[in-house]
Amino acid sequence: MIVRRGTSLARRESTWGLLFLAPWILGFILFFAGPMLVSLGASFTDLVLVRPGAVKFVGLDNWVRLVSDQLVLKSLLVTGNFLLIAVPISLGLPLLMAVLLNSERLVAKPLFRALFFMPVLIPGVATAAIWQGVLNVQTGWIDLALRAMGIPAPDWLNQPQWVIPALSLIATWSVGNAMVIMLAGLQNVPSELYDAAKVDGANALYRFFKISIPMISPVIFYNLVLATIAAFQYFLTAFVLYQNTAGPNNAALFYMMNLYKEAFVYYNMGYASALAWGLFIVGLAVTIGLFASARRWVYYAGGDS
């Protein structure tokens, strides 16, 4: 009797629970799992949105095209190049800011925290427009300063070799979240560790690299994963700056720029679906690789979970 009442209670609880989860489950199927499966299917067809009806199964054609497409190769190189420059910056800069904000020597901490964080809230389109002006070869302040110092000023956004460095510079305005998270991580490091090290005479640099860095390595890892994913999805700034041209010599042909063009300029949905899945697979592989590497260098104070 008691047992039966218990199970019916449990069933009632799980029914209620599922009812509350229902919106998300439904949304997951409708807007995530469903579309993913549909696009997997579409990647084997010649679906073109402007001439619906006559969809043909084309087997692996789209996938063969994907692996042999020079533009895909170029877009992977551009994205990879950006990743190698922008990701270290988007980890190093917020770490520097967080260390500054965590320093007991700094005055007016809340003000500095707000100022360092603020750019992340500026709409991406406005950020791109502002930096487009700042990086202008004639009137931009960076090139004016460089010329005043006698350094040859590059045409950041129009010389192919300077496009990725310029975009990495713009990406410094999106490190606010990483900074706040790293700051919280630093504040969670038990002060006994530092005190003990101080008693032993360890200097500040030593304490930073041997205590701070290992203790916040989970937070660094979290930000590394997010920054890597963001680099793979990089689109907005490049699009606002170059619209459909992808920059000089295709220097800003990021993977998403190429995908956008195929999908929403040519409406080649079959091939675009293959491109989207290609991005998903590459992104997933890199993320898994990062998680595998985490075992070597990420330290969990509470033990591995």
Partner: protein, 363 residues
């Protein structure tokens, strides 16, 4: 293998750490360190936010730009005499710099007027073109009105606010309900469901846009706001995660007491959980509002060709692409686009920072 080693080393340096310096010099050293660190922070913040200064300066300058124009919003200084206006220059006369108005320019010799005594013209031998013009600070506030008109900013602002507010209502209610389910009920397979939920945060949203677009195109939603609004009524993973973390920290005793009093799960959610979680719910409101304000790819593809429905992001991107020769208006638009988000941030800074920390550190 990363471990916290090195805590118990460096015994050689121990002697140095002993308090051997007088208190005064230690205080001085502390002050010096504080000064250095703060100075470095000021320098970093100045360089970091320099583009904002650039934007402000350019947004207030005139439509034309002279070669010798200073960086700040400026116009050539003029002197008006007998209804005619003359440019002011700094002229070296008898080893002294004097500010004079160029009355009759000549190649090798010019006639000047002294603004304080214009009735006696001054002759000066030399090339006036080599002289420095006098500039006065004159912000062109009218640029903002012009940018507002040319971009139809009122319309863009209305659209952005409408999309953001409707979406926020959907995002907050659905995330609250779903987070309640995840935090308070024993459901078979809940761990797997939650793992999938967190997984969707990591997976690129851009990947689904192609099939989702095809779906919305089939049911005729492209060219309307529906694709930008409806999906948010189904619980966004990021928001659910944040609220769930928060709900878990609310003691269960209170909802159990409410249940005993006969409140059903819905009543408990509304009268017990929600009032205690206002901080987190506010954070979700703000996050969604900012997401909607910044969202670009969605409105770009779903509202192509429907200018009357565009939000600021898309309208501004179109404008920057079209009017590259009007940098002062582009910068004015950029500042108008960032004004509201930055103002909200200044007012609700703490909510923001805490929300970021909860999702970033607690996992």
């Amino acid at each position: 293998m990363a471990t916290v080693s090195g805590v118990g080393v460096a015994s050689k340096q121990r002697a140095r750490a002993l308090p051997s310096t007088p208190a005064l010099s230690r205080q001085l050293r502390g002050l010096l360190l504080a000064g250095t660190v703060s100075l470095f922070a000021i320098m970093l913040v100045t360089v970091y936010l320099m583009p904002l200064g650039y934007s402000a300066a350019v947004s207030m300058r005139g439509a034309t730009l002279e070669a010798d124009q200073p960086l700040w919003p400026s116009d050539p200084a003029k002197f008006t005499y007998n209804g005619e206006s003359y440019d002011l220059y700094n002229v070296p006369i008898d080893g002294k710099m004097r500010t004079l108005a160029l009355y009759k320019p000549g190649r090798e010799q010019s006639t000047w007027l002294d603004p304080s005594d214009p009735s006696t013209p001054i002759e000066w031998v030399g090339r006036w073109r080599t002289l420095d013009r006098v500039w006065i600070f004159s912000p062109h506030w009218g640029n903002f009105a012009e940018a507002w008109k040319i971009t139809n900013f009122g319309r863009l602002l209305f659209n952005t606010l409408a999309i953001a507010i409707i979406g926020t209502i959907g995002a907050v209610t659905s995330a609250t309900v779903v987070a309640y389910g995840f935090s308070r009920f024993r459901i078979p397979g809940k761990t797997i469901l939650f793992t999938i939920l967190v997984g969707t945060i990591i997976l690129p949203q851009q990947v689904t846009i192609v099939p989702t677009y095809t779906l919305f195109a089939r049911i005729g939603w492209v060219g309307s706001w529906l694709p930008l609004l409806v999906p948010h009524f189904f619980g966004n993973a990021y928001n659910v995660f944040l609220l769930r973390q928060f709900f878990m920290s609310i003691p269960r005793d209170m909802d159990e007491a409410a249940m005993i009093d006969g409140a059903g799960p819905f009543r408990t959610l509304i009268s017990v959980i929600v009032p205690q979680a206002w901080a987190a719910i506010t954070a979700v409101c703000l996050f969604h509002f900012f997401f909607a304000w910044n969202d670009f790819l969605g409105p770009l593809v779903y509202l192509v060709g429907h200018e009357e429905l565009w939000p600021i992001a898309v309208g501004m991107s179109y404008f920057t692409g079209q009017y590259t020769q009007l940098p002062h208006l582009i910068q004015a638009t950029a500042l108008m686009a960032l004004a509201l988000p930055v103002a909200i941030f200044v007012l609700a800074q703490r909510v923001f920072v805490q929300g970021v920390v909860v999702t970033g550190v607690d996992k």
